[in-house]
Every structure is written in C-alpha cells, then in structure tokens.
C-alpha cells in the first residue's frame, strides 16, 4: 500500500481538525489539552460515526474503551432515535454536550473535520460512503462486508488506495490469538501443502412471510435509508433484518464471508488474489420478503490448485469456522478461541525467526488507532477484505445463474459470460451514483 501521509501530515490534519472547531464551535475540555497526564490532542484521534445501529454502537464502545486515545465528535444516522441515544453515550463519555448529529451524511461530510470515521452501514450504502470518506482523506474503520457488489468493491479499493488513507475492516477475528496462530501455523507449512479449505458460515433462518405496507416510523428517513437501492414501500423490515433481503445484502453468506473466508485466505497467502473458478448452489426461500439464500454450497478453485468450499455450516463436517486441509493434516479455527488440529502437537509448534510471521494485533481497535498514528498499514486492510467478499459475491452470481463462473482475479472480470457479468453490479437509483475514482 502506498503511504502518502506522514506523521507531519497527520499532525497538520489534527490541527485542522481543531481549526474546524472554530467554524463549528465546541468547548474543548481541559482534559484534551494534555493536562493531568491525559493524552495530548495531537495524539488523540478525532472521530465521527456514520451508522449508529447495533454494529456501529458496538464498535464505538470498543473505541471508547481505548480511553482518551479517541474522541467522538460527530454522529450521523437516518434514524433520529438511534442518533439521539448514540449522542447520549458519546456525551456521557466526553462529559460535554458538544457531539454534533446529522441525518444526512452529505452534510456530515461537508461540515466535519475528522481524523477518522467509523462506518457501519447496510451493504448497499458502502459503495458511495466508503469512497466518499476516503476521498475526504479520512482514515476509515469500515464494517464488513466492504461491498454489496464486485463493482462497488473495485471503486472502494481504488478510493482507499488512491487517497492513501488508513483502512481497517471490521474483520476483528484477525486480532484474535487463535485465528492468528492457526493462520500462521498453516502458512508456515505445519499441515504441509494446503490442498483444500472448508469454510463454514451460518445457516439462514426462518422468514417472516409477506408483511403489508406499514407507516414509516417518524424517526426514520426511509428514503435516505434506501438510498441507491430500488424504492420499495416500508414493510417493517429495516434495521438488522435488511440482511436477509438481496437488495441490501447477500444474507449470512456475505455477512460472514469477511470473517472466515478472510481467515482462510490469510493462512494460505490468497489475500491479494481470487479464485479462477466458482461453482455454487443455493437454497432460496420459496416465499416471503426475505429472499437471501438460507443454504449455500460453493466450490472455488484457485490458480495454485487450492480448492475452497464455502457452505452453510450444517452442510460441513466441522460446522462453523475455517478448516485448512494440507497433505500432512488439518487445522480448524472458529470463534470462542477454538483451535484444533489433526495432530495436537501441531498446535505446540513455535514459528522460527526465519519463518513467515503474520501481522500481529491483540486489539483490533487499538491497531487501527496505532495505524492512524504511525501511518503503517492496519491488520485488516482494504484489498484482503475485498478479496474475501469477492468469493461470496462470485458464489452468489454462480448460484443466481446456475452456472460455473470463470473469474480472472487479475483483471477482476468474469470470463466469457456477459449475462453473468451483469450481476457484478447493481445500478443505483437516481439521483445516486457510484463515485468514479
């Protein structure tokens, strides 16, 4: 990754953030002036949040646990109630009432002067807002999956790279010891040469049928929530459950791809490439407003011969998590600090000085803050996130078309299938357009 910012730039940026406080006045508490052993302002990251729903709030609280290293100064959400309760949380932490709130991200972006922004939005909004944030040269902590379509993903990756911003994907498993250890053992050949990987992600669940049109809650700007997605009437499905509707997400498959596929790629050096063949089969709800596949079984082949199967966990012998199969054994990792191997002794192996050492972080949020300060790449940069979700999105295209997809991971194009290639993007509803970077 090109590093276009320096420590000096960063200090200047922080200074301009303070300058911004002159335009939009707020009282700088004495604690941020570096008195009484507190973090001095130049090292304190001034942050905003776009998307104060459950994931945004969870991330925000994790940043707040870093104490005075971060100060949230502005929030944006299309749901006024959520915005108000997020402001309460921030105000309490800041011991001031100055945190600014916005219902429209465009105004947020125009008025705010930030070092970094936390973005936790439904997937269909990522293309526009991630790219715009990068264009503002804000460092971004962005939730996975980083895009709803491959085309969105390409634009986002380019925006992040071109603008030299620090990017951290919310794929926090990378900062967990068991996942790090598993990936590091595998990449150093402790199970031999990896031939095959199984990635188990959650099964889809019950639908809710076909609810009627309902009044939009007063606090919700439904038009803005839909944004670039096709206009549909409000039917009671919005926060959280947008994930089961294909206009906004690909269901459990795309929700979790950024975790376990990402880990699979990390342990096999596939982070900066993609599969060359993808064949998937999905089980779709036969009725109801939720239309994302509830089961999926996708087999991918990589140019180096590795095969990766991604399926809902009920279909796989090891269930959830990532399992690498090498010619000397297997190694499986999952949440809950789980790590196991065909031979338990594999797990006791040390990695020598001359071997590959994967990036180490034991706190995903601290790692982002450190990277913002140091201008060194964070543990979960943009391209691996894009490559991880690409596997799921290409699987989705294969399931939708019922065809095996051939993919050129360098050109990032589907080979010889113009019909399937149309599914690489979802056109934006006017007036929204995907930024050209």
């Amino acid at each position: 990754m090109k590093k276009t910012s320096t420590r000096r730039d960063f200090v200047r940026k922080s200074a301009s953030a303070l300058a911004g406080s002159v335009i939009i006045p707020y009282i700088v508490p004495s604690s941020s002036l570096g008195l009484g052993g507190q973090t001095p302002p130049a090292d304190r990251i001034v942050m905003g949040v776009i998307g104060t729903g459950s994931q945004g709030m969870s991330d925000m609280r994790d940043f707040m646990r870093l104490k005075d290293q971060v100060r949230f100064v502005a929030l944006c959400d299309v749901d006024a109630k959520r915005l108000a309760s997020a402001k309460d949380v921030v105000d309490k932490t800041n011991r001031s009432k100055d945190c600014r709130t916005y219902g429209d991200y465009r105004e947020f972006m125009e008025k705010e002067k930030l070092d970094a922004v936390l973005i936790a939005l439904p997937d269909h909004w990522h293309g526009i807002i991630y790219s715009e944030a990068a264009r503002k040269k804000w460092d971004v902590y962005g939730e996975k999956p980083i895009c709803r379509t491959i085309n969105d993903g390409k634009v986002i990756v380019k925006a992040v790279k071109d603008n030299g911003v620090i990017w951290q994907t919310g794929s926090w498993q990378r900062s967990q010891a068991n996942f790090h250890k598993g990936a590091e053992l595998v990449i150093n050949g402790r199970i031999g040469k990896v031939k095959y990987i199984e990635v188990g992600l959650p099964d889809g669940g019950r639908g809710i049928g076909t609810p009627p049109v309902q009044d939009v809650p007063e606090e919700l700007d439904w038009e803005m929530w839909l944004g670039p997605a096709l206009k549909v009437p409000y039917r009671g499905v919005c926060h959280w459950n947008w994930r089961w509707i294909l206009d906004y997400s690909g269901g459990q498959l795309t929700d979790w791809a950024g975790h376990h596929i990402d880990i699979a790629n990390w342990g096999t050096g596939l982070e900066y490439t993609g599969p060359v063949e993808i064949e998937g089969k999905g089980v779709y709800p036969v009725d109801g407003i939720y239309n994302a596949p509830v089961e999926y079984d996708i087999l991918c082949k990589y140019a180096n011969g590795i095969e990766m199967r991604v399926a809902n966990s009920s279909r796989l012998p090891k269930g959830m998590g990532t399992c690498w199969y090498g010619d000397l054994g297997w190694l499986h990792v999952d949440r809950g600090n789980r790590i196991s191997a065909s031979d338990p002794n594999i797990l006791k192996e040390e990695i020598g000085d001359n071997e590959t050492h994967l990036y180490k972080s034991d706190n995903h949020y601290q790692n982002f803050v450190d990277s913002v300060r140091s201008r060194k790449q964070a543990i979960a940069p943009i391209e691996p996130a894009y490559r991880a979700i690409s596997v799921a999105l290409l699987g989705e295209i294969s399931m939708t078309t019922g065809q095996k997809i051939k993919w050129d991971p360098d050109k990032e194009e589907i080979i010889d299938n113009p019909t399937a290639s149309r599914l690489l993007s979802r056109p934006y509803r006017k007036p929204w357009t995907l930024p050209t970077v």
């Binding site: 889809g204 669940g205 019950r206 076909t210 036969v286 009725d287 509830v294 019909t419 149309r422």
Partner: protein
C-alpha cells in the same frame, strides 16, 4: 408379417414417446390400510396420488377387514409389488400374512412405513426390526432403546427404562437432514420447514440397522422431550429396504402435512429407494427451506405458465411463491439460452399485459435486468416512460448496458 412389423414399430415409437413424457420405469406399489388411528381413507388416497404423481409408480390400495373382523382371509400378495406402503395400525394380521410380509422384505421387497404405522403390531418382533423404531401399544425399554439426536447432532442410543411413543399437538416444525448423503436426501436442503404435523417422539426399537435420515426438534411444550427426534429412517432388513417416515398426519380439511412439498418429495424418493435402491428423481423447484413452508394444494409442481399467471397478480403483501418459482426456473436453466429465452418471452408478455399488476412488472424488470436480450428490450424501454415503473426500467436498461 408386415402388420406385425408395423405393430412393433408403432409400439416402439409409442414407448419412446411415453418415455419422453414420463419416467420409463413403473414400479408397482401397494398401499395397505383399512384400520388406523388416523383417517386412513383420506391419507391412503393422498399417498396413492403422491406416488403416481412422480410418474414412477402405479399404486393400488388394499383395505383390511374392519377392526374386530376376521383377519384370516386378509392375505395380500406382497411379492407382486416393488414397494409396500404401510398405512396401517390396527388388529394383528394372521400369522400367515405376517410371515408373508416378513419374507417379502427379507427377500428384497421395498417398504414404506408411513406415520401411524410406527405404532402397529406391538409384540411382533420382525415388524419392529423392519420399522427400526416404533412406539405405543405396550412398548417400553423391552422393545429396545430410545433413539434421539442431541443438540450437537450426534445420535444417542438410550437404554434407560421408559415408555415408547409420544406426540403433542399439530404444529409447524423444522426437519433437519442427518444423512444428506443418502440417495433419499441427497441434494435436498438440509433444513426445511414442515407444516401442521404431529411430531413423534420417544420411539424405541432394535435400532441396530437404522440410518436416521432426518430429525426434528421436539420442544418441551406439553411434556415434549426437548430432543431431536428421528422423523425419517432408512432401514435394512434382510435384503429388503425400508423407508420409514413418521411425518404426514392427515388433519383438518386441508391435510397440509401431506401436501407439504417436503413430505411429498421425501415420500416419492423414499418409495423409489425402497423399490430399487436408487433415486432418479430431481430435486423439485418448490422444496421448502428453513425460511418457509411450501405446500402443493393439488400435489403437483407448478408449471412455468402457472407461475407466470400467478406472478401477474402479485401485489405487496401477497405470496411471492410464483416469483420465486420463476427465479428457480431461471437458476435451473443454468445459462441455457433457449430455456432462458422461453422464460424471457413469457416475462415480456407480462410486461406488455395491461392487466398484470405494477408490482408484478417491477419484479419482472429485476429479472430481465440480467437475463434480458434484444427480445425484451423494446418492452423495457417503453416502461421508462411509465412513472411508477421508471426506476425499475432504468435499473434494467443500465444493467443491460442498453442506455
């Protein structure tokens, strides 16, 4: 001589045509009923229709004498059939009939044990072996262990003393495939919702020769077990193959449990496997998933035309099943241009049809946005001028790269 030749040729041609229309193999099925704790008339009629709907079976129904009647003369010729479907739970058969049946299975006959037949013939040991698991009557641990699955998905064979057989109230529940590699279950969703049925629990039996294909969770309401209970089993007995399903309680006027596409499909596949050891039937496009039940009111799979017609009347709040049916046909076309064009033509007709709803046309435009060709393009472009369809038409035109 000429006439004979002509006859042979005609017969061969007819056979070819017939083969093209329906599956060439016809298995003979016998549904044995006449006494049961459930509505055996209705369920037997439905079972016959379900089997014959597959195109693989010719099914007959044989009724035993009424309860308390003389059973000595009731002696169906089991060996004439490829598969015997037991929809029976009543008076004990005569020893001769029992021997005939056990011999039939031992010699390689196929059996489907359906629903309440799990409770038939207490004390007949061979029958319990054929079923794998049974219940009720005066059965207890003496019949064999209680077999269930724990939440981790492992089979538990529990020899603790206790009663055999339990059911609660009819309700919807999720079926979970436990052996997705078996011919009966292969290719089917591993989790699917099943409507309005009685879930049998605490079944006991010899259990030595059973392959539990699927279970369902019996919640603790009304004394339920809180365990994953077997609902489908493959059993081997001698050379015979037995498909045992505890599903399919006929209830109310609708008999929804029997009209569930999941029940129909597994019964058809289970019967084929019992008859032949293999399954040649494709996974139907309307098989349910964990998300929603799927019911076939007339036991038939909807055709493309029926889906198109249903979609034409779609509105917000109505079932999306016609739309998802078309989407499934598109997936199954797997890029076949001829099939896709056939679907595209019908979708285009809908776009041009003034009586099709606006909401239906919106859904059609979403599909045409990627399968569309020059065929549908003029119809799509025309809709760009219709305010309530402009967004969807623009969406399609942009994705087709036709703007």
């Amino acid at each position: 001589m000429k006439k004979i030749k002509y006859f042979i040729l005609t017969a061969a041609a007819l056979a070819l045509i017939a083969g093209g229309c329906r599956k060439s193999t016809q298995y003979a099925a016998l549904i044995v009923t006449g006494q049961n704790t459930i509505d055996w008339q209705t369920s037997s009629t439905l079972l016959k229709q379900i089997l014959e709907e597959s195109g693989l079976f010719k099914a007959e129904i044989v009724n035993s004498p009424d309860a308390g009647g003389d059973m000595t003369g009731f002696r169906p010729k089991f060996s004439k059939y490829d598969v015997v479907v037991l929809n029976y739970s009543g008076d004990q058969w005569s020893e001769n009939t029992k021997q005939d049946f056990a011999g039939y299975v031992k010699n390689g006959g196929g059996v489907v044990v359906y629903h309440a037949a799990s409770s038939a013939f207490p004390g007949w040991k061979e029958y319990e072996e054929i079923c794998g698991l049974t219940g009720w009557g005066d059965r207890s641990e003496k019949t064999g262990p209680y077999v269930y699955f724990n939440r981790a998905g492992r089979m538990v064979v529990d020899s603790t003393p206790g009663p055999a057989g339990w059911y609660g109230k009819t309700r919807d529940f999720e079926v979970r495939m436990r052996n997705p590699g078996h011919p009966v279950t292969k290719g089917l969703p591993v989790r699917w919702m099943h409507p309005d049925d009685l879930l049998f629990a605490r079944l006991r039996g010899p259990a030595g020769n059973i392959d539990v294909l699927a279970t369902a969770f019996c919640d603790t309401t009304g004394g339920g077990t809180g365990r994953e209970e077997p609902v489908m089993m493959a059993v081997t007995y001698g050379k015979g193959r037995v498909f045992h399903t505890t599903l399919g309680f006929p209830s109310g006027d609708e008999n929804i449990a029997l009209k569930c596409a999941g029940f129909i499909t597994t019964l058809q596949r289970g019967a084929e496997w019992a008859a032949s050891g293999k399954v040649t039937q494709e996974v139907p496009p309307d098989f349910p998933s964990a998300a929603a039940i799927s019911v076939r009111p007339n036991l038939k799979i909807r055709t493309l035309d029926e889906n198109i017609e249903g979609l034409g009347e779609y509105d917000i709040g109505k079932s999306t099943r016609f739309y998802t049916g078309i989407q499934e046909e598109i997936r199954r076309a797997a890029g076949d241009k001829t099939k896709l064009l056939e679907i595209e033509k019908k979708l285009t007709e809908l776009l041009n049809n003034p009586s099709a709803t606006v909401e239906a046309k919106k859904l059609v435009l979403r599909e045409l946005s990627w399968i569309g060709t020059d065929y549908s393009l003029p119809a799509i472009k025309k809709l760009q001028a219709v305010p309530e369809l402009k967004d969807e038409a623009d969406f399609a035109i942009e994705r087709l790269g036709a703007n």
